[in-house]
Every structure is written in structure tokens, then in C-alpha cells.
């Protein structure tokens, strides 16, 4: 199929392209960006006047709950939610049931994704067998099956020696290792940030040092091994400063943050609100501002959803007994664009943190619009108002603290591989 979207504002943060013009799609690829080449005869023309067009979002952390927890969500249900949220590529952590420690699991995920709406689904390979933290997983086989990186999810490794060996082995194959910085003993049974709110509510706190102590060990081993590491879901100002320092020292390290960490703080836990139960926890205002600053200066290269859909029962109980996580695929783009409104980021920077920024972390080719790229993009209506409403929600998980928030701008269409996978209801021209 050949299509041209005309008179649309094209934004490609990968190279700073920002102009009103045409985007030409030939088959699954972008043929031209800006003006229509001589002799291109599209089968279809779409008027993009007043709309924006930018690369489809690349989300470094979205749990689909499949395989193993299909009572919470499935690849099909969450791929739809992703498309609605403008996400065209999502990366699953390896902590499915069974975990992604064999090529067969990746093949299953790939097959289910193919049967879904078209959104690209990757799974990180397990760093250790069964994510048990002891024996290395067969990373080369996982890579050959399609894993763009390896990770142990939030599960701890048995020792720093295992971490060292895992980094050395993964880097043999030029695989990026995705690590969460959480010291298991300091985290303990904690469920909120250790501070005034944990004290007031009598909940077990997770101290800042749970992140910074683990991060210190990771940085020492990155320096020792030279392996490329991506630190997932930073939650503290101090952690972000450590990453910035390490990067300026030239270490091959990058980091991301969950979008909710840039908006909510420990105070939002208020009276035991289980929708604000996340790990790592919502921290202080100071931490939130530090994370925002790190997103602005680029030391945090990616904002992810950290999507964790749950069935209602998982959130019904006393706070510490509820399961952590927010269903967030549909709020990643609106929250990120809120940072533009807040004056923190330029539009180009904001888009970069959810497109080419995360793509580059794992060496994925997505998240850009240059000719020859995959035609994965979002047609966005900047003039619309977008209410986050339960009745319009597509994820199977309804666990979000963002219901009834209103955002400026709305996804009108999401395209993957040259075809629309989602259109706003009422847009029947797609």
C-alpha cells in the first residue's frame, strides 16, 4: 500500500526534523519525509492539516502478563491499549510465567503478538535461569530468538560475583543488560518510600540507599567489565545524579524512569491508596524534581510506562497486601507531553524520551521517521482534549491513579508497518 499524509507537522526527534509537509509511505516503510518525490503515486491521500505526526512510541517496560497471568491481561488486550496510547513498540520484562529464559517462550510471545493488533512486542531475555539469580541463562540463544537485551527483572542476583559474570557474558554478545537498582535486603518488605509518609502511615519504608547502594555496586562492575548496562526505573534524585556522573566519566550506562515518577510523590499514597503502590516507590518531592531535571538534561534517556496491569482483586486489601504497579500504557504519551506544558522539556526533547531515546538504549531501529525507516508513527491532534476515563480504557488492568485527569492533545491514529492499527472512535476514514 502507498499512502501520503499531507500538510501534517512532522516531528522526528532523532534528527530534529520539524516541518509541515508530506509523509510518504510505501509498503511497510517511510519513503519520504517533507515533500512528495517526483512520480510517487499514492493509492491513498490523507489530509493531516492541523495534526502532528511523530514516530510511534517505544516503551522499554510494559508487562502484558502473558504467558502465565492471562487473568490480569493478555498480549492482545495490552497491544490494543498500547496502540491507543501511541505505543508501537513495547518491550516486556522477562518476568512472565514461565520467565523468558528459553527461546520457546520468546517464540510464543512473538506468535501471540502476530495474532494481536500489530504493535511490535519484544521480550527481554532472562539474565539467569528461571530468574533465580544463580545460573546464567542461555543468553546467546535468547538473542538469536529475538531478545534485544537481557535482564533479571526486579529479581535479585545471588551475589555481585554472579552479576559480574553475567555482565561479562552478556557483553560478549554485545547485549545490553537491563538492571533494576534495588538492594534486596534494604528493600526488605518495604512498600513505600522511607520518609515522613511511611512514618505517618506505619508502613515499611524503602530507604533511598536501597537504590543508591545497589547502583554503586552496578557502577563499580560496569567500570570493571566495560559492559553496557541500562538501569531501569530510577526513583531517587541521588540515583539520577550518580548516573549523570557515571555518564560524564564515559561509562557505557543509561537509565530510564517511569512516567508516574515524574508526577506523583509519596504524598499521593495519602490514605493508603493502592493505585499508588509501586516498586520502586513514589518518593519525595525532591526526588521527583531531581528525576525531572535528569530527564531534562538527558542523563535519563528514556521515559517508560512501567505498565503493570492487575485484576481488581490484586488491589483490594490493606496497602502492603496489594500488588504493586500501575496500568500505564495509555498514559505514557499524555504524561510525557505534560512535561512540555510544565515548561520542563521542549516538544522535541519530550518526544525523544519516548521514541528514539529508548530505541537507542536497546539498539532497536524503531522510533524514527527518516526515509527507509519502518512506517510506525502517530497522528496526533494537538487541539483535542483527552479525558482519561474508565469507560474508554482499553487495558485489561484498571489500576491507575490517573483516571479523571484531563490532558491536552489526543492520539488520532497509530500506524505500524504502514498500516493503521488504531483510530480514535469516529475516525472512520482510516
Amino acid at each position: 500500500m502507498s499512502v501520503v499524509i499531507e500538510n501534517v507537522r512532522i516531528l522526528d526527534p532523532a534528527d530534529g526534523f520539524d516541518a509541515v509537509g508530506d509523509l510518504c509511505v510505501q509498503g511497510e516503510e517511510i519513503l519520504a519525509r517533507g515533500s512528495t518525490p517526483e512520480g510517487f503515486e499514492p493509492r491513498r491521500r490523507i489530509d493531516g492539516s492541523g495534526l502532528w505526526l511523530f514516530p510511534g512510541l517505544v516503551d522499554l517496560a510494559a508487562r502484558t502478563r502473558e504467558p502465565g497471568e492471562e487473568h490480569k491481561a493478555t498480549i492482545a488486550s495490552e497491544a490494543r491499549a498500547a496502540a491507543r496510547g501511541g505505543v508501537t513498540t513495547l518491550v516486556m520484562p522477562p518476568d512472565t510465567h514461565p520467565p523468558v529464559d528459553s527461546p520457546a517462550v520468546i517464540e510464543l510471545i512473538t506468535r501471540r503478538a502476530r495474532e494481536a493488533c500489530g504493535v511490535r512486542v519484544y521480550a527481554l531475555g532472562a539474565l539467569t535461569h528461571g530468574l533465580e539469580g544463580q545460573q546464567l541463562a542461555e543468553m546467546a540463544a535468547l538473542m538469536r530468538a529475538g531478545a534485544p537485551g537481557v535482564s533479571n527483572g526486579q529479581r535479585p542476583l545471588a551475589s555481585l560475583l554472579i552479576l559480574r559474570r553475567a555482565l561479562e557474558y552478556a557483553s560478549t554478545f554485545d547485549l545490553t543488560t537491563v538492571l533494576s537498582a534495588q538492594d534486596p535486603a534494604l528493600t526488605g518488605s518495604g512498600c513505600v518510600h522511607e520518609g515522613p509518609v511511611s512514618t505517618r502511615l506505619g508502613l515499611s519504608g524503602i530507604p533511598e540507599a536501597a537504590e543508591t547502594a545497589a547502583l554503586g555496586a552496578i557502577l563499580a562492575l560496569v567500570e570493571q567489565t566495560g559492559a553496557r548496562v541500562h538501569v531501569a526505573r530510577l526513583s531517587t534524585r541521588r540515583g539520577a545524579e550518580m548516573i549523570a556522573k557515571a555518564r560524564s566519566d564515559g561509562l557505557p550506562i543509561s537509565a530510564d524512569v517511569a512516567a508516574h515518577q515524574l508526577f506523583l510523590t509519596e504524598v499521593d499514597v495519602a490514605e493508603f491508596n493502592p493505585d499508588c503502590h509501586v516498586i520502586p516507590p513514589l518518593r519525595s518531592q525532591r526526588d521527583r524534581d531531581g528525576l525531572r531535571a535528569a530527564v531534562a538534561d538527558g542523563s535519563i534517556a528514556a521515559i517508560c510506562s512501567d505498565h503493570q496491569p492487575h485484576e481488581a482483586d490484586s488491589k483490594l486489601g490493606p496497602f502492603a497486601d496489594t500488588l504493586p504497579g500501575i496500568a500505564a500504557l495509555e498514559t505514557l504519551l499524555p504524561l510525557t507531553l505534560r512535561l512540555v506544558e510544565d515548561g520542563l522539556l521542549s516538544l522535541e526533547q519530550a518526544l525523544s524520551r519516548i521514541t528514539n531515546g529508548p530505541a537507542e538504549v536497546l539498539g532497536l531501529e524503531h522510533g524514527r521517521l527518516a526515509p527507509g525507516s519502518r512506517a510506525d508513527f502517530v497522528l496526533f491532534d494537538p487541539g483535542a482534549l483527552h479525558d482519561i476515563r474508565r469507560e474508554h480504557w482499553l487495558s485489561a488492568g484498571h489500576n491507575t491513579p490517573f483516571f479523571d485527569w484531563t490532558f491536552g492533545g489526543e492520539v488520532r491514529e497509530t500506524w505500524v508497518a504502514g498500516r493503521p492499527t488504531w483510530s480514535r472512535p469516529g475516525e472512520d476514514d482510516a
Partner: protein, 336 residues
């Protein structure tokens, strides 16, 4: 690059609900008793005054009034308790309510029934009030949020969070002996970190405008940023006891040694145990209180626990009056 249109500025995040939104009616009456935090001085004084009238009655030969006749109160205890459960039961009976005691070690919770299922089943029996104790902080809030509109929830202790009726009976005891709170110095000594009693006491003392509230403990038994609750922190018992009018000793659980909060009971008693000798640093009329059960020789010497300054048994007695006051007030709020 241009920014998003200003006209479409997103809605700002709302601050979380204050504790009162759940436990007070729109008219400011007590609907549930979940936490002391956020209540005002007038309401606390009203509870203490109501408790005073019941205390006078409890000293008479006929100790029963028909205020809650026909009401059914469920004591739902997921954690062992003797004093608290018994005094709640007595309080309910003296108000002429029917009382159902549900002991969870023999209930369906061990069969995997969820907390909410247990609650729904009891609600289906048309009960009027739950008295809840649970090991997880926030359980009373959770139950209050999900209970049917006519049902009141009284928190009889949730995790480390709150034990409001204990704090109220402590305030009642202090008021009976001391009157005005504004001139008092009160020290709470021991395991503040794990204590729901301490948290509720600190809120209550501050709401009643106590002159000075101190906490005395090693740093490993103090929660983060504890000063923000409105207390002065002491790590030395001698300085913490200096001139205090009330000293409240907290129970030290044996398992604190296993989790590296403390080296030994012996060292704890040496540094933080209340002895007759140390008590001399306090005001000569100092009250010694303990929410019980006391570990004699660990946090308190027997000579002090049983000594002339001790009001530990009075606390138990007054627990009945205070719980009668709270029960009658929450049922009143529902009826009005």
C-alpha cells in the same frame, strides 16, 4: 518548537484526601474511628467528656445503659489481643449491644477467604459496627472504605499505623490526674518504630496542645523523620526523663533482637529501662504509663510498674469508658 495550546492545559494533580474525609460525616461527627490524626481538639475533648460520664456510671452498681440496644457489634480480631478485645466487648455489653467475637485463627481467613469476602459475609448478617484489629497498616481504612454505608468501623490496632482508642484512654488517664495538657511534658520511651500506640499518642498529645512531647529511643527504633510528627527526640533516657510529668513506656518485642534493631534485652534495659532511680529525674508527681503487657526487667522494673507513680491498671479500667464513648458517638453519627 511550539508548545501545546495553552487553552488545553491538563488538570493539575489533586492532593490526596485528608484522613477526616473518611472518618467524619459532612457535619464533622465521628462516623468511624480509624486514626487520631486530623481530628480536632473539640472532638477529642467531647470524646473524653463523654467517657467521663460513662466512667462515673461504671463505678456504680448497675453498669448498663440501653444506648445501643438492638445493635450488633462484631469484634473482628486478626491478631491476638486480650485487654483490647475484652474491654471492647465489655463496653459494647454495657451499652446493651449484642456482641459477636470473631477469632480469626479459627475463621475462614485461614481457608483463603479474602478480607473483603469475610467482611461481605458479616455485612449480610446486618451488623452495625466492626471493631477491627489486623497486622497490616491501613486495614481499618480499607474496611471503612468498602463497608456498607450504615456500618461503623473502629480501629482496634492496624499494623504500626494507629490504635486510636488506646491513645484516647491514655489521654483520659492523663487528664484525670493532670487536668490541663498545655503545661505538661510527656515522654514516650521505647520502640517507636513499630508502635501504633506511640503514633496515635503523639497525634492525640499534639492535638490537645501538650506543652512538650518527647520520644526516647535508640536510632534503630525510631522511624524516619519522626520529628515531623511533632516530637523532640532524645537518645538518652536520663535527659528524656528530665522534669517530665508523664512517662509512657512501650513494650519491647523479643524479635527486635533477631532483626538487628538491638543487641540484647540486657543492654536495652541498661540504657532505656525505667527504674525507680531514673524516675527520680522526672517530676515528683510523674505518672508512669504502659499500654501493656509490660516486659518486667526489659523496659520497666517491677518496682516502678507496681509503684506509687504507676497508673497502668487505671488505664485498663478507663479503656472501657473510652470505648463506650466512641461506640455511642459513632452510632449517634449514623442515626442523625
Amino acid at each position: 518548537m511550539t508548545e501545546l495550546p495553552a487553552a488545553h492545559t491538563s488538570r493539575l494533580p489533586q492532593p490526596g484526601p485528608l484522613p477526616n474525609r473518611l472518618q467524619l460525616t459532612d457535619e464533622g461527627q465521628l462516623r468511624h474511628m480509624l486514626t487520631i490524626e486530623g481530628l480536632n481538639r473539640t472532638l477529642l475533648t467531647e470524646i473524653l467528656d463523654t467517657a467521663e460520664s460513662f466512667a462515673n456510671m461504671n463505678e456504680k452498681a448497675v453498669k448498663k445503659v440501653p444506648l445501643l440496644r438492638g445493635k450488633t457489634i462484631v469484634n473482628l480480631f486478626f491478631e491476638a489481643s486480650t485487654r483490647t478485645r475484652t474491654t471492647f466487648e465489655l463496653a459494647a455489653k454495657r451499652l446493651s449491644a449484642d456482641v459477636l467475637n470473631i477469632n480469626v485463627s479459627t475463621s475462614s481467613a485461614v481457608k483463603g477467604e479474602s478480607l473483603l469476602d469475610t467482611l461481605r459475609n458479616l455485612e449480610a448478617m446486618n451488623v452495625d459496627m466492626f471493631v477491627v484489629r489486623h497486622e497490616e497498616s491501613g486495614t481499618a481504612h480499607f474496611i471503612a472504605r468498602h463497608a456498607a454505608p450504615g456500618i461503623s468501623v473502629l480501629n482496634a490496632g492496624d499494623g504500626r499505623h494507629a490504635h486510636p482508642t488506646q491513645a484516647l484512654l491514655d489521654m483520659f488517664t492523663i487528664r484525670r490526674h493532670k487536668g490541663d495538657f498545655t503545661k505538661l511534658k510527656v515522654a514516650i520511651v521505647g520502640d517507636i518504630l513499630h508502635s501504633r500506640v506511640a503514633r496515635s499518642q503523639i497525634h492525640a498529645l499534639n492535638i490537645l496542645q501538650t506543652g512538650e512531647v518527647r520520644v526516647v529511643a535508640p536510632r534503630s527504633l525510631l522511624p524516619a523523620d519522626v520529628e515531623q510528627l511533632g516530637v523532640h527526640v532524645h537518645h538518652d533516657l536520663d535527659s528524656g526523663l528530665q522534669d517530665v510529668d508523664v512517662v509512657i513506656m512501650l513494650r519491647l518485642q523479643r524479635e527486635r533482637m533477631e532483626h538487628a534493631h538491638l543487641p540484647s534485652e540486657h543492654e536495652y534495659f541498661q540504657r532505656f529501662g525505667l527504674t525507680a532511680r531514673r524516675l527520680q529525674l522526672a517530676s515528683p508527681t510523674c505518672l508512669v504509663m504502659h499500654p501493656g503487657p509490660a516486659n518486667r526487667g526489659v523496659e520497666i522494673e517491677s518496682a516502678v510498674a507496681d509503684g506509687p507513680h504507676s497508673v497502668i491498671l487505671e488505664q485498663v479500667t478507663y479503656g472501657i469508658s473510652v470505648r463506650m464513648a466512641v461506640m455511642s458517638m459513632v452510632m449517634g453519627a449514623h442515626q442523625s
